[in-house]
């Protein structure tokens, strides 16, 4: 970043705050983009300053996915809204089997938000994007009045290219297929809850926020016929399985004992009256594949750092009700329903 004659006074990243002029479209916004966003997100397409990014993708099928990120708190153990906004969308792209190519980022800033915090978030976003090899190539910034936002919202959109011969979709689960998860459930949601003021419990648990596209690439290289992939984010594993069952018109049968849940997560859930199966993840995936490929798939996943704790947790069954059923760790059997309402801490 060279000094720009348009902006004789540099942004004050120590004590400054977002004000309405930063969203005006005028010089103050140009300065915010130049001295903050482009300082970290320094891909040539973004620096160019057009309202869109131009690139030549490899030929073939593409995917596009978008996700708004509205998390509170903005900074949490294991990440922040910036890294999350990168991982969250990369993962949605990757869940089609695609190799993610580029990201777009739309920021909605609340008047009064500290510029220093914004810089931390954007820097984290840049690190996450660099580490994943998926650059942010275009963006947008809006400012809303105080009381009409919540610090920062980031909506990211990703595009990617699907390798030939891969067809992964939520409607492809078939009776007999095997259901896998790539690791422990509930880490992200518990890490977030642990930072909510009034719940105030202490835990070492960190968000699992991570970009899963490389794990996915390894998986489809080994087992091209994966039927479904999905990241169990909001609503947790339970809701994701219900979504897949609904889309594919099948039932599912899982075993509680087989589902990896960290002891700390289990403990925090006991304390709050939550069920870890409904708690959000941001660096895990659910896979559905043909039975005869399952062992090979789980072994491949074990070979990747983000899949080291992968496990087969159940199978797809025929069921006109599209229920997800679970054999409990206690030996009983129950439905694992969609999340109803919000997952709220409870006293009874």
């Amino acid at each position: 970043m060279t000094s720009d004659r348009r902006f004789p006074v540099r942004l004050d990243l120590e004590k400054g705050a977002v004000d309405m002029s930063h969203g005006s479209g005028g010089r103050a916004m140009a300065q915010l983009i130049g001295e903050l966003f482009q300082r970290y997100l320094d891909h040539e397409l973004l620096i160019l300053g057009n309202d869109q990014a131009l690139f030549t993708p490899p030929p073939g099928r593409m995917v596009m996915s978008t996700d708004g990120h509205v998390i509170s708190p903005l900074f949490f153990p294991g990440g922040d809204i910036g890294s999350l906004a990168v991982h969250g969308t990369i993962n949605d792209v990757a869940m089609s089997g695609a190799r993610p190519l580029y990201l777009a980022a739309g920021f909605i800033l609340e008047e009064g938000f500290p510029l220093g915090d914004l810089a931390r978030i954007v820097a984290s976003m840049a690190r996450a994007a660099n580490a994943a090899g998926v650059p942010v190539v275009t963006g947008d910034t809006k400012v809303v009045e105080r009381g009409k936002g919540d610090g920062v919202f980031i909506t990211t959109t990703g595009i990617g290219v699907v390798p030939e011969g891969i067809l992964i979709s939520g409607d492809r689960a078939e009776p007999g297929d095997v259901i896998l998860v790539s690791g422990s459930m509930g880490d992200h949601g518990v890490a977030i809850l642990s930072k909510r003021e009034n719940l105030g419990f202490e835990t070492e648990i960190r968000s699992d926020s991570a970009a899963l596209h490389e794990l996915v690439a390894t998986m489809i290289a080994a087992v091209p016929d994966i039927h479904c992939l999905r990241d169990p984010t909001r609503g947790g594993l339970a809701t994701t399985l219900n979504e897949l069952a609904h889309q594919s018109g099948v039932g599912m049968q899982i075993r509680e004992d087989a589902i990896p849940v960290r002891a700390e997560v289990a403990a925090a859930c006991e304390l709050l009256g939550l069920d870890p199966l409904y708690v959000a993840n941001e660096g895990k995936l659910v896979a559905v594949c043909p039975r005869d490929q399952a062992e090979r798939l789980v072994e491949t996943m074990h070979g990747h750092a983000l899949g080291a704790e992968s496990a087969i947790i159940g199978e797809v069954v025929e069921d006109p009700h599209r229920f997800v059923q679970m054999e409990t760790g206690f030996g009983g059997s129950r439905i694992v329903d969609w999340l109803a309402g919000e997952q709220l801490p409870r006293i009874c």
């Binding site: 419990f201 835990t203 002891a263 700390e264 403990a267 304390l271 006293i347």
Partner: protein, 94 residues
């Protein structure tokens, strides 16, 4: 009703009448306003941020043994089954 969880006291703030408790590796601060004689190492039942009661290690052990015994079908059993306590009996603690 009344979600309550056993947790171990790891430290006590006498002045504030609060304690830190651990449930596995999860820590939490709770109020001791409802119990007396709590000591570090004690297990207490936690409900809405308050310790309701201490948990008796011996009684828990006894209950588990009883369950194990009860789980032996009659022909395997050596002892007569016996309720863990009755109101009239000597069971119960504090």
């Amino acid at each position: 009703m009344c979600l309550a969880i056993p947790a171990r006291i790891t430290s006590i703030d006498v002045a504030a009448d609060t304690a830190k408790v651990a449930l596995g590796s999860v820590g939490k601060e709770i109020s001791l306003a409802l119990i007396e004689d709590a000591a570090v190492g004690d297990y207490v039942l936690i409900h809405v941020g308050y310790a309701l009661n201490k948990i008796s290690e011996e009684e828990a052990q006894r209950t588990l043994e009883m369950i194990a015994e009860m789980g032996l079908l009659e022909e395997e059993q050596e002892l007569d089954p016996e309720p863990t306590s009755t109101v009239a009996g000597s069971g119960g603690q504090r």
